[in-house]
């Protein structure tokens, strides 16, 4: 088998990896905002749930979370008579998104808190509601602060997708393993794997940079 024949199956795997990364990063982003804001809530119930989620998913490994969702959840569901079997893609996206969301929530919380207190005071003096203050004044200023960390988390997330090959999802790593088992051509396969992940990470970095510039475009006007 010539090495160029590896490319098609690898590309198929890469496509799965891309989808996993995109979906789980979006899910993680949404969760990050929901629970990052939730952690700052004055409502104790919301705050507790947010802290609970963040600590649970940061305090356990992604692998365990993935196995739990894929292997343990269906059994738990069976015990109470509900079908909780998840397709591998769903389990993968959920585990990755929940995991990255917990780290992202801390980034969101930190960025929101870093907005200067005098902005909140100005908003209060103008009689904005707390909700308007958060969404119109504080968060737009916090987003550019979050973006570098979000960029790192997105790259981290891309690399973490390799773990889903362990629940037989045909991602890039899984396909590479398949070909390697068949051809024993470890050097070529792993080199290609390395390059492909690196290429994808570059794309993720560039995309996050563009989002960062867009979110903070007011900072660059006229300078």
């Amino acid at each position: 088998m010539h090495w160029s024949e590896y490319l098609l199956p690898l590309a198929e795997g890469a496509w799965v990896t891309v989808q996993l990364t995109v979906y789980s990063t979006i899910l993680g982003g949404v969760l990050a905002f929901v629970f990052g804001i939730g952690k700052l809530s004055s409502n104790m119930a919301i705050k507790s749930v947010s802290v609970g989620y963040i600590e649970l998913f940061r305090g356990t490994s992604l692998l365990v979370q993935l196995f739990w969702l894929y292997f343990a959840l269906p059994l738990a569901g069976m015990a109470i008579g509900i079908d909780l079997r998840l397709p591998p893609v769903v389990a993968g996206v959920l585990a990755l998104g929940l995991n990255i969301g917990a780290y992202g929530a801390e980034v969101v919380r930190g960025a929101i808190q870093s907005v200067h207190q005098n902005q909140r005071e100005a908003a209060r003096a103008l009689n904005f509601t707390p909700r308007q203050t958060l969404f119109n004044i504080v968060i737009p200023q916090a987003i550019p602060e979050m973006m570098p960390s979000f960029g790192n988390l997105a790259v981290q997330n891309l690399k973490d997708t390799a773990l889903v090959s362990l629940i037989s999802l045909g991602d890039l790593t899984f396909r590479a393993e398949q070909i390697r088992n068949f051809t024993q051509d470890s050097t070529t396969i792993y080199t290609l794997l390395l390059l492909m992940y690196f290429g994808m990470a570059l794309v993720v970095t560039v995309v996050m940079h563009l989002i960062e510039r867009f979110a903070g475009r007011w900072r660059m006007v006229g300078s």
């Binding site: 005098n118 005071e121 100005a122 009689n127």
Partner: protein, 256 residues
């Protein structure tokens, strides 16, 4: 007493062990322009921040427009104010901050229109017309599209004044509006404040270290010292012939 738009009645404010306002009694009449002067830490900003509902009180009652600010009269007793009450009271006041506190992610126009649209429910067009008038008033008619960081400090502060006026407050609070400015930019801001004082029936409360300006525009000057009004009077009385030793010392130190 009846025409007092602001009345502090034995107001106490503490930060931990530090008593910043010590049973302060203080009144401002409708339309009056009052300057507050005094040494650092004497509680000048605290008075304004309490009025703007940025800071609560630990004792006494603050009245604004005949109603308690931090309390609500319910079933015959004074209870701590609800957020709804504070919102209603807050709409009577506006504040100009020492550090301007403009919203950096919004253009000058949006800085001025955002609250009228979102809080007062004004139409966008109407809010923009009002903003244009105000920008004209503060001499920045051509800067509407800029962002705060593209303006000088003096221009930013004038936007701050326009932003506060856009909410049509009946009381405007200024906390050292020129202290953060380079000396050559102080004049343009004072000119705007002076014009407001002359042409509008706005009640103005101004904390300042600009003694000459305070003297020009004020109906009354209050000298604050350790959380109380040590001395007050017309600018002429207070600046030319203060009766208290502390006032004399303070004026001497600052005018030199």
């Amino acid at each position: 007493m009846t025409d007092a738009i602001i009345r502090f009645d034995k107001v106490v404010k503490r930060f931990g062990d530090l008593t910043v306002l010590d049973e302060l009694d203080f009144e401002v009449k409708k339309g009056e322009k009052v300057s507050i002067i005094g040494p650092s830490g004497s509680g000048k900003s605290t008075v304004l921040r309490i009025l703007m509902t940025l800071e609560g009180i630990d004792g006494g009652v603050v009245h604004v427009d005949g109603e308690p600010l931090w309390h609500e009269l319910r079933e015959g007793s004074l209870l701590p104010a609800s957020e709804a009450h504070l919102r209603r009271m807050r709409s009577k006041l506006g504040m100009v901050f020492q550090q301007f506190n403009l919203f950096p992610h919004m253009t000058v126009m949006r800085n001025i229109t955002e609250a009228p649209v979102k809080v007062l429910g004004l139409g966008k067009k109407e809010a923009q017309l009002r903003a244009e008038e105000l920008l004209d008033l503060v001499g920045l008619a051509d800067q509407a599209k800029k962002f705060p960081h593209q303006l000088s400090g003096g221009q930013q502060q004038r936007v701050g004044i326009a932003r506060a006026l856009a909410m049509r407050p009946s009381i405007l609070l200024f906390d050292e509006p020129t202290s953060a400015l380079d000396p050559e930019l102080v004049g343009e801001v004072l000119t705007v404040i002076g014009r407001l004082a002359e042409e509008h029936d706005l009640t103005m409360l101004l904390v300042t270290h600009e003694m000459r300006f305070a003297r020009e525009i004020s109906d009354r000057v209050c000298f604050f010292d350790r959380g109380q009004i040590r001395e007050e009077g017309t600018p002429d009385e207070l600046f030319t012939d203060p009766s208290e030793e502390r006032t004399r010392e303070f004026l001497k130190a600052i005018l030199d």
